[in-house]
Symmetry: C2
Subunit: 294 residues, 2 copies
């Protein structure tokens, strides 16, 4: 199923395996904050990012739809020789991570799939001294209880104060993170976290790193902020080195390229602000229907 990569694309799957890119995907540009951290922490690696902008947002989609979309995207990234997959999207991680993990492990390639949520939970539990962690996320993510489960599976004695932020991701996506409305939203979101006296806060939405300075200021300098990208970078590094798949590049940085299912030009414009680095070429891609793969 997932592993049927054409023989022509990869004559010997182990040959030169470390030089293959890491595949990262999301429903849109939000996951670029995750890619940003990966580019900084793993400069020697090549990356291939796919934003499913034609079907953005994923928030209100059914788990079945998201599992299907994620499978299509994974197939596309594997076709382009990804050596590891990162799901840089909360909704897709919740809906599709176990399915993709199982499929990847069934293939001869044995490609690892890492999602958000669990790496952040692990890093937050490691960072907290008081045992009181906060979470800022979209209402859907908070309602899913995925961070509660992840945190308590790492340490059942740690408490999680979750705050649903209905407007924040939209404000950031619209580029309005520096206006008064944004400040009020962020202040409102921080209030229950301050009252709960948390010492560590998980940024449970890929958009939130763009307002990290404001959050840090409102929560106070002693609070540790944990974002998906930084937490994932460690796990990606560990997974690659365990499998002997680290890129052997000694000098210079790797390259990074972009695919999207919607309009490339708007992806580029919006994306630069999220990546906070130069965004090179963006290629429009047609995903094969998952039925064709079954």
């Amino acid at each position: 199923m997932m592993g049927c990569v054409p023989a022509s694309a990869s004559p010997d799957p182990r040959a030169d395996a470390g030089r293959r890119p890491i595949g990262v995907f999301d429903s849109g540009v939000g996951g670029l904050t995750v890619l940003h951290e990966l580019l900084v922490q793993l400069p020697q690696e090549d990356f291939l990012y796919l934003g499913d902008t034609a079907r953005f947002p994923y928030g209100e989609r059914s788990p079945e739809e998201l599992a299907r979309f994620s499978s299509q995207i994974a197939e596309e990234l594997l076709r382009r020789r990804a050596k590891l997959l990162v799901i840089a999207c909360n909704s897709a991680t919740a809906a599709a991570l176990p399915i993709l993990e199982r499929r990847m492990m069934e293939t001869t390639l044995g490609v690892d799939v890492l999602g958000v949520v669990r790496p952040e939970a692990m890093q937050a539990v490691a960072a907290t001294r008081s045992g009181r962690i906060g979470l800022l996320a979209t209402p859907t993510t908070v309602a899913s209880g995925s961070y509660e489960r992840a945190v308590s599976s790492v340490d059942p004695h740690v408490t999680l104060q979750a705050v649903a932020c209905p407007t924040l991701a939209g404000i950031i996506q619209a580029g309005e993170q520096f206006d008064e409305r944004a400040v009020d939203s962020v202040r409102e979101a921080c209030l229950p976290l301050r009252e709960a006296d948390v010492d560590t806060v998980i940024l449970g939405c890929t958009h939130y790193p763009l307002i990290k300075p404001m959050l840090q200021r409102m929560l106070g300098p002693s609070v540790t902020l944990v974002s998906s990208g930084a937490a994932l970078a460690r796990q990606v590094e560990h997974a690659l080195s365990t499998r002997g798949l680290s890129n052997p590049r000694q000098h210079g940085e790797g390259d990074y390229r972009f695919l999207c299912t919607g309009e490339p030009e708007s992806f580029r414009e919006l994306g630069t602000r999220f990546l906070q680095m130069p965004l090179g070429e963006v290629e429009r891609v047609e995903l094969q229907s998952v039925e064709a793969l079954a």
Copy 2:
């Protein structure tokens, strides 16, 4: 001289002293990256920022001019009851810090003045493990030798590899930090630092924190980047607590306001990108000529 604050503005200089703002100044918007760090690290403090945009840039001015400009600005900030002054500008620090320090200490207010350069040198020396530090700065700053002197006064056994970047501040100020020309400039600047195998790099220009992710990626994740703002925040905190001048605010954040000598609207537009936080009101200010003060 500098301390002749009108009696009406401060009937008792010690009363409620901690509630007075911290004054920060620069030739333009560059110092807002310093203010950014101060806002994040010292959220309980109030700040008053003055950008001398009408006389920007300071780079080619004579030391005498800069000492005069800095004195005028210091006087304006003291008139507005600043409890501590931060010179968030390399050129002004080099030209005016000793003069301002002396003047401030002669007054009854005893207001501390902190500049860039020395705090970064101290933090870089504390951070390096190999004893090899790099410096990125404008040609004028590199030529002044101020960082070399500051580093060797902290630890004469530490070596400093300085790289003059003639175009970088201009590229960043023009908002072109994400284009190919910027990437090439940054890569070129990083090359001698990589060759010198430094483990710590001083960002010796207030504009450079805006390209920190790119620098971190090109220098590698194990290199520590030291910027003026983060280094200054510690010293400001220390100076205030030593003098019993920390703001006693317990809850919420302090406010921050802006003065500029040029056009307020262009200051606000450019400033938001440098502050990376909402920029509130900007007031145009006429500085008194220093002759009138003498």
